[in-house]
Symmetry: C3
Subunit: 350 residues, 3 copies
């Protein structure tokens, strides 16, 4: 499947330096534990440095100056990034466009760029625009007037509702829903009157959306996710949210309506964010935290409700000891009462 | 796109009162910040009352007697509800039925009412009944013997499994699953024996289900959601649950099997509800709370496990101060020991 | 619909013992509350034993030696398991294979076993292998090189991505996604470089996956779920996880990358599990808990972060009383200060 390359060729591809046998032939990649003599592995976490001594790998990608235990090594500044690039080099087949395949349903008014692939069973509505080299998998549904950029991948059974817009190189995993109606209702005295959700969703370039994640269209204007932000699976983004650039939104996070998230924000798994608040740039929120109000930039938070992460570490360690703390307090109370009895008895009855 | 109407016409449509220029022509809607001179906006939250002075909007929908800063206003009892109705009036095109489109898969035994729309790629099984004016989007799958009422909207790739029943005016967002098997297994000594889930799901009139939400069929009888209740995205309703009327179930809530939820209950985002319990009418449960046992009606609760909301507000404010509290207790202990040393030394060794 | 059977026939089918009228004809099943004179019910939970006196059921499935209040009873060691088997006996129609139906999209290179059913609108990619008697519902999408075993059920709009493998008797509920890309990115100084996810997902025999659940493919090797494990709806399994045999993963649980879960583990609803940790065999984790690090086998845990379940029960009962505890501590502080004033004043100023 994969084409063999010399260590020297690989080093040159990554802009790295060979230590050892540059002529050695590498035909694949593996972990420190599983890579064989014709495979390359990598060391990114210094914690595992000693495993280099034991690996059977033919070569190791590592930081400059690391102990290579006599192995052939390629030194690069960021071995993890280098390994990711080699995964693409070795294992990703060049994309071959297939055109509009039989049993694909493409409205006559849709505009398709060059080398677009539309699989059987995909549905492309009226006036949809699809950029060049984009791939639409089976069962994906693009409602009327959707715009999708170039080199996007829309996986099977993903849904993009009317008028929503995707930039270039967006990847939508299977089952994700872009542009479902926002959850907006006005009580009318008897029950709830549905507020029409007439806005859209805009995903900028390089945004990726995980499997079965949901992004609601805005009530009136735009729910927006900016360049480079990645959403994991089963994430909920409510209507009118604005998410900044290069954020990492981990699985099962829920963000309520009209929240504004800055750039380079990381929300760990199962975090909940209340509506109409602002999270500053470079914020990191720990798993399962609940964010009830705005969070200043450049800090880490945890807990429900959120507090600075370090405070949470301390207070969450005390929670299991609360029974002990209460016992201590009760014991102190008795001792004080005893002291009072000794000291005050002569002076006061109570 | 939208048709212009005079302020007086709009006031008459809503049953409101004009203050100012009733002849002014309005051609759209916007927020206090974004509406231009030919657009109408609304003031629902008194917190933003001062923004009326600065808005560029041609007219403001507001409560009777509010300060209108010289703007043309339409006074109505519920400006938010009025605005919702105007969104529908201005921006919602009248529905045009399209019939059964080519490449829709409709079993010959299915019964379709008048003016039904079935998009290409939708699947309608044996003996399915679909009420008049209902719309079935591409990729939606209705298993055998499903019954769907009138004026429903079943969005793309939603799935309704065998024998489940929907009332009138139900809306199912993309990817939602109605009638998946309940999670029921009987340990048989070696592993788990699957308990057949032979019941169904019944959604009453005006129920709406969010994108990628899941409602499991009952083991034997009915999982039921009553009139007017709305579910947000990614909600889980387990088998045998009964949800009352006009409830709001916010995103990522999970309700375990056989739970009974009253009327007008609001469960905020990511709440978890244990099985075989009852939540009374008009209960409000705060975000991320965990409900381990029944909750009496007409009250607000929060926390895991849930407690009255006001208690939770107080106790959750102390959690970040637990380290300080523990330090205080340690200091008190020392001071008591010191006092005891002074006071008791002559009398006892310990 | 269902065929009537005598109590004696049913007892014989289950290997149980008749107490009372073995000739009585039973034509269906019901609960203690709803079963009529021609229906059989069951008593599994001793808590409901007194309901046997009031049931209208024609017969009761119960444990040997239970009080039957004069009812006809069938005694079996595990009444719940017995009832599950009778549900299958009475209500599950024998499966009739339908073959590849019109409008199913099956690539010419796919290999289908005997008696496979492929519904209209299902998509079967290149070189896919499907075992005998497996059923593929409408809108299900199997990417290229997928292998599915015998007697599997792939429900509507489920997606199985390239090269993933399912054992025999697996059931995939609607909308579930098997093999979506793992959430792996390497920071490259400007944004995130997508790490190709070239691994697969392997589900062993008798694994069941709930509606709209997501299982990510491994980065390089295999995300694996072993024999007999059941996942509820909306569960997230990240890349490289290994889940053992006969686990119960309840709805909305999220398991982070590279976690190893033992055999017979139960994770209750909305639990979150961090990455790169190990959970031992027979562990039970309570609902909404957050597992930050490895958990030893054969124990129950709860809380965020997790602690032994019994400790959590105690400490979580104190949380609502924290305001009271703090008040107590403040009062003690005053009393100590007062004591100190009395006792120390003559000796020291401070």
């Amino acid at each position: 499947m994969t084409q063999a390359r010399t260590v020297a060729e690989i080093a040159s591809y990554l802009g790295g330096t060979v230590q050892g046998d540059g002529a050695k032939l590498i035909s694949g990649l593996g972990t420190l534990e599983t890579a064989g003599p014709d495979a390359l592995t990598f060391l990114a976490n210094p914690r595992y440095a000693s495993k280099v001594a034991e690996t059977s790998a033919g070569a190791v990608l590592m930081s400059p100056g690391g102990e290579r235990y006599g192995r052939t090594a390629i030194e690069v500044a960021n071995p993890y990034l280098g390994f990711a690039k080699l995964l693409a080099l070795f294992y990703t087949a060049p994309h071959e466009p297939l055109g509009v395949l039989p049993a694909a349903i493409v409205d006559a008014t849709a505009t398709l760029g060059r080398d677009v692939t539309v699989y059987p069973g995909a549905f492309i509505g009226k006036n949809v625009t699809i950029g060049s080299r984009t791939v639409i998998y089976p069962g994906a549904v693009l409602y009327d007037n959707v715009i999708v950029g170039e080199e996007c991948i829309i996986h099977a059974n993903a849904v993009i509702r009317e008028r929503c817009r995707l930039g270039n190189r967006c990847i939508i995993q299977p089952g994700a829903v872009i542009g479902s109606d926002g959850f907006g209702y006005a009580p009318d005295g008897r029950g709830y009157y549905r507020i029409p959700q007439i806005g859209i969703v805009v995903l900028d370039d390089d945004v990726e959306i995980g499997a079965n994640s949901c992004i609601d269209r805005a009530a009136v204007e735009v729910t927006r996710i900016r360049r480079g932000t990645k959403l994991d699976n089963l994430v909920q983004i409510a209507h009118n949210c604005e998410i900044g650039e290069d954020c990492m939104i981990v699985s099962q996070v829920g963000i309520s309506g009209s929240a504004k998230i800055g750039n380079h924000v990381t929300l760990a798994g199962q975090v909940g964010v209340a509506g109409h608040l602002t999270i500053g740039d470079n914020v990191l929120v720990g798993a399962q935290s609940g964010v009830p109000s705005s969070l200043p930039a450049n800090a880490a938070y945890s807990g429900t409700p959120t507090m600075p992460h370090k405070e949470w570490l301390k207070s969450s360690m005390i929670v299991p000891r609360l029974p002990e703390l209460r016992k201590t307090v009760s014991a102190l109370e008795k001792r004080i009462t005893e002291l009072e009895a000794i000291l005050k008895q002569p002076r006061q009855e109570n």
